[in-house]
Amino acid sequence: MEVTTQELKHCDLIKVNGRVDSATAPTFSKALEKANEAGHFKIVVDMSELEYMSSAGFRALLASQRNCKRYNRGELVLVAVPERIREALELAGFTELFKSFDDSITAVGSF
């Protein structure tokens, strides 16, 4: 798994590649927390090169979404969610908790 954070004018673009499971989710969580600690609560998570995500990754997304949405200060949105990961998110009932966009330009533009 690899996580890269790009600070844009109106939001942070966090790209997570590879596989997020119980071993790698803490690193993903840290990247999300770091953005929040810097006072950034508008976050785009680019999943276009994500191969796999277990519920450990879902929990990291949920914790960050709670933090971002508190006091209406922002939101975490998803980009290019691969089909199988989307289906797993749906089974977990998570899809309604996150806006999802097909590409990062539209997602970044939504802020």
Binding site: S54, A63, A92
Partner: protein
Amino acid sequence: MTFPAQFEFLDEIRDFVAQTAREGGFAEKEIYFLQLAADEAASNIIEHSYEGISNANLDITCDVRGTILTITMRDTGKSFDPSNIKQPNLKADLSERQIGGLGLYLMRKLMDEVRYEANPKTGNLLTMTKRRG
């Protein structure tokens, strides 16, 4: 196969299940969800049954007979009562959404059958089956 009960071996556990499922003629999409179910099961055992224990092992079998794939996981850690694990409320809003119980919920959704037997002598045995689509 015996795996060290550590999160770092989840990759190998998923590969092991995928290989058996592929040989058994399962489709790639089915294989993804079998890997997810195995990952959730192994993660729960490592996190909860073996909580605080770093040198434990996890015995995993994965077989296909006919059209049915069976995964078993045996551990000698703490047992649990699956009926005590609350179903996550998928309708709850963001602030009330529970973080625990999601792994077991996903396993039940992804597999046809999930059985758990706690035995103080032989350890805990988790059995999950899935019929090929």
